[in-house]
């Protein structure tokens, strides 16, 4: 029963409201039109495509990826240097420096290395070398 009364009440309220909206006078309608026109002048144009949030997010993500790739390549390049010969040579050189030997010897390292290489040559080569020297 109440539901029926409510439905009738609501229908009448809607009808009265619609009628009152339809019967607005010309002056009020004109004021509303002017107010709308003024409001529409303040609509902001959408930002340029690169300033839109979607583009900004994409560009940020791309920058992070590029930075990560560049950083990875640099790290890989540094770690892939032939480190063993360098370490060996470097250790040998450092041993000479730390042993307080004459630094002139260090300056002539290339000569001593050549000499060592000569001594380690095959016996045949040494013999020939010795024979030539004796002769």
């Amino acid at each position: 029963m109440n539901e029926e009364i409510d439905n009738r009440l609501l229908a009448k309220a809607r009808l009265a409201f619609r009628e009152s909206v339809a019967s607005l006078d010309i002056a009020t309608l004109q004021h509303l039109r002017e107010a709308r026109a003024r409001a529409l002048q303040h609509v902001r144009t959408p930002p340029a495509f690169w300033r839109r949030p979607a583009w900004g997010a994409s560009l940020s993500a791309a920058a992070v990826v590029v930075a990560a790739v560049v950083g990875g390549l640099v790290w890989w390049n540094l770690n892939s240097q032939p480190s063993v010969p360098f370490a060996a040579n470097n250790g040998e050189d450092m041993a000479i420096v730390l042993s307080n030997d004459n630094l002139d010897m260090y300056a002539d390292m290339d000569f001593y290395r050549w000499l060592q290489a000569q001594q380690q040559q095959s016996p045949k080569t040494q013999a020939e070398s010795g024979g030539n020297n004796n002769g």
């Binding site: 809607r14 607005l24 009020t28 709308r36």
Partner: protein
């Protein structure tokens, strides 16, 4: 599909899926709601000038701040701004009345003089008897709505008269959907009591 309201203006739902640019879409939306919004503001403020100011402010804020939002969000946003402006106006009016009564001046009338809009000739060209009956119905509704607590009136006009769904009404009022149902139920109960004798 575009549907048209009683005044020949597009209904809010009609412009939601539109492909027009923002300004044209907003224009269509505002032209569809402006008359109803004016009447809704008038229910609460009972003063056509204040109602016009509130609607104008709501339009301006929507255009300035929320034009870029999806069109489906415009109705609750617009009515939320409008309700906020209505409450601001009511607060200002209350402060002014307190100030005037403190200095012994005359309080600003809560109920304004008879609305000249109601007294004007009917632009729809209806029979005088029909017009009188309609005016009486509107005046009874106006008085009954004005007697309701603010939140109940908001729930009733947004949900029943404007036709927003419960979710959009809740967004417009800034409360939960449960609160909307409670306010609406109480409003309908009160209106049944006050309008029953006129309308049943």
């Amino acid at each position: 599909m575009i549907t048209f309201g009683p005044g020949g203006t597009p209904e809010p739902r009609a412009v939601r899926g539109g492909f027009l640019d923002t300004t044209a879409s907003l224009n269509a939306f505002l032209s569809g709601v402006e008359r109803r919004a004016f009447r809704i503001a008038q229910f609460a403020l009972r003063n056509p000038d204040d109602a016009l100011d509130a609607v104008q402010d709501a339009m301006l804020q929507l255009a300035k701040r929320y034009a870029g939002r999806p069109q489906g969000e415009w109705p609750p946003l617009f009515y939320r701004i409008l309700q906020s402006r209505i409450r601001d106006c009511q607060r200002r009016r209350a402060v002014r009345n307190r100030f005037l009564s403190f200095f012994g001046g005359q309080r600003e009338a809560e109920d304004d003089p008879p609305d000249p809009i109601e007294a004007a000739a009917d632009p729809a060209g209806r029979e005088p008897s029909e017009q009188v009956a309609q005016n009486n119905a509107m005046q009874a509704l106006n008085a009954a709505l004005h007697a309701l607590p603010g939140r109940q009136r908001e729930a009733f006009v947004l949900r029943i008269l404007e036709g927003l769904d419960v979710a959009d009404t809740a967004k417009s009022m800034g409360c939960s959907e449960g609160s909307v149902k409670t306010h609406l139920s109480r409003a309908v109960h009160s209106l049944r009591q006050s309008l029953g004798e006129h309308w049943s």
